[in-house]
Amino acid sequence: MSSVINVRGLEKSYGANKAVAGIDLTIEPGEIFALLGPNGAGKTTTVEILEGFRDRDRGDVSVLGTDPGVKGEQARKWRNRIGIVLQSTNDAGDLSVYETVAHFAKYYSNPRGVDEVIDAVGLTDKSTALIRTLSGGQRRRLDVALGIIGSPELLFLDEPTTGFDPEARRAFWALIQDLRKSGATILLTTHYLDEAEALADRVAVINQGKIIEVATPALLGGRATSLATVSWKGPNGLQSERTDNPTALIRKLTETYKDEIPELTVKRASLEDIYLEMIGGADVSQ
């Protein structure tokens, strides 16, 4: 089967500001793919081009075998297969959660069950509440519900968990993993590194409109092979050593200390350390 998303040489400028400066991207069926990058890196611009909301200046884009610029009946068939959670929406709230989800279900050929979806995003208690009475995080969950109601083959999520409490975030991760089990492909953007690490099969780090690296979370930035820092309390206080073979160092230490090595820690670079290093040269002024 061919790729779900295929992007070659994508470019997009707003006036003189080159928001997307030549991006290549291939996402395979059933993958969870995360786009990471600082504010203004071009994540939303890229995703919204793939969603058919924005025009591109240059490049080839295929999403589920279709150009997102498609119009008319073809566009409807294409949109029937995708789900979208935008970075920000602010609906007028005179309808209840149930009414809204049930209404959106009518747009699709194979919608999921309304109650099932409301339950999946944890809004069952709020089912009859008017949208305007929901909290920020609850509204965001409604956004997710509307994104998945049509049983999408491909789901776009632009910072889906912004405003979620930690428990809701865990529940959301489980939901996304369930969706993947049922065969969906997922492209999400996030600022949460733990989210990318917990969910994504592959992560692309994007900065100033360019992809710096694409890798599995474990391998990003040479993380698996990066130096580890071993530290312990020696005779002269806290000591640490950077090494590419921490096991050997600890074996040596056990000879010195016989018993317990005081305050021993082994630390590898966290995804966050790697990430900050990668975007370190970033011009954050824009």
Binding site: R79, R81, I84, L86, T89, A92, E99, S109, L146
Partner: protein, 267 residues
Amino acid sequence: MSVNKVPSALAIGIARGGLEVKQFMRQRESVVFTLAFPIMLLAIFGSVFTNELSDGVTFSQYFVAGMIASGLVNTGFQQLAIMIPVERDFGTLKRLQGTPMPASSYFIGKSIVVFVTMVIQIALLLIAGVLFFGVNLPTDPAKWFTFTWLIILGSAASTALGIAFSVIPKSGRGASAVVSPVVIILQFFSGVFFVFTDLPGWMQQVAAIFPLKWMTQGMRSVFLPDSFAAQEVAGTWETGRTFWIILAWLIAGLVISIKTFKWEQAR
């Protein structure tokens, strides 16, 4: 993967209409205002102008025709040209754009909510008119026939023009300031508040370009005795002409809506 077909634009449009009516009914202030405002105006004008325009034709009778016609413009054109930019600002439209719902379904939904609110508004106005302001309802079935097509055609044209005009306001906040003056000026020019033939000639000629004057005149043909036709500009009700002009505006509104409709405010 999907065995079922994507639901038809009409089916989705009807569902949207139901939803929009529900939403409208829940905005209590705007319900009360939309429905009571024409009655208030009728009460004010009916008490200010108590003279008879010709035998048996009170100003209230003349004015009720104008109020129904401008109700068509208010619930359709004005309401939509203000509300759609707000929905655009809120991102409601962008969310819809991302679904398989086509623009035509959105238009159908708007036509339904406009039609429903307008029918309620007119019914209340007529009831109040008959009960409190001595308005006489026509007895001739032919007049009710004219009344019916005027409302259907007028509301469709008003809806289409409202959607077409909704691209002009740059933001939801400013929409009212752009749209309301257009409507108020049209009402003055079209003989809603004053007897049309008392207006200066140039005003009459400007008004004759726009549909409100024709809707108003059409409604006069329903609510005033046929003898009054002699006092119209052309000396007749010009019913055929009224039909074609409103239809032309409907078509123009549709074409512009389809060609220019924006889901998002370009930044």
